[in-house]
Amino acid sequence: MKHKFGVKIMPREVILDTQGRAVEQTLKLNHLDVEMCRVGKYVELEIEGTADDARLKAEMIAKKVLHNPLIETYEVKGL
């Protein structure tokens, strides 16, 4: 059985989000006012196995490989 997961990776709140800052600034310069802008990454995974195993594996991949705990947080969602 195949299971699909979406992993959202965002800069940690306390850490400076340089990309979000640049995009926000540019939107403002172009009079597209936004209150806040943060930029992260999105990864989709497809994993073979039982629902629980696949979930654990997705969590493990996100935790150990996809995100850098020093500067990012992640969230795994079943699709």
Partner: protein
């Protein structure tokens, strides 16, 4: 003296180099600030220099393409006047759809600096007019220089003679070894290599001189 406009985005870093290059060619050089539109009749040509405009965040060139100065550049190009985009400037022209295709991350996933051999495929109506130079050598320095277009568009680019320059040995995975392209009317040209970094012997090469 004829005037060439050098577009300056926040994060441009070859702006001063291109300014010097233009002046050394006995043109008057003038900076064009990203937030200002300009009078298209004041300039003989426009150059978009390399660098990391707006930090290259989101996608290289993506944020710059939406700036006010690009409205004037598009207008200028539309009128058949000469525009040249070098490296990041090429990325901006592509993002603005003044030139076809897209520039994505190098296939090696790394920034690359070095010299490449190139050959001209087609002629621009203004830039690098010296016909004798079919094969040239120029420096490159980029992380997102891999030319990409969907198959159908790529064929159209080839058929319409819009390939300007090809790499002899492909450094970044560009489709069809494309290093530079032209618009349909060939007044607008863009390339990843840096002609302004090779126009004197002490720089290691002189093939960049004849681009202006």
């Amino acid at each position: 003296m004829k005037k060439i406009g050098v577009v300056r985005f926040p994060g441009s870093n070859c702006d001063r180099d291109v300014f010097q290059y233009v002046q050394d060619h006995q043109y008057q050089a003038e900076y064009l600030w990203h937030l200002d539109q300009f009078n298209i009749h004041d300039y003989e040509g426009i150059i978009l220099p390399g660098g990391f405009s707006y930090g290259d965040y989101l996608r290289a060139g993506a944020l710059s393409a939406r700036s006010p100065v690009m409205k004037s550049v598009a207008d200028f190009a539309q009128k058949g006047r000469p525009v040249l985009g070098i490296c990041n400037g090429f990325q901006v022209l592509v993002e603005t759809h003044i030139l076809p295709g897209a520039l994505v991350q190098n296939s090696g996933l790394k920034f690359i600096d070095g010299w490449v051999n190139l050959k001209f495929e087609n002629q621009s109506t203004f830039w690098a007019q010296k016909e004798s130079q079919k094969n040239i050598r120029l420096p490159i320095a980029h992380g997102e220089g891999r030319f990409y277009a969907p198959q159908a568009e790529l064929e159209k680019i080839e058929d319409c003679g819009q390939v300007w320059l090809r790499y002899e040995s492909n450094p970044n995975g560009s489709l069809n070894d494309i290093a530079g392209v032209l618009n349909r009317t060939k007044n607008v040209a863009g390339l990843m290599p840096h002609p302004e970094r090779a126009y004197a012997d002490w720089m290691g090469g002189i093939d960049g001189w004849s681009f202006l």
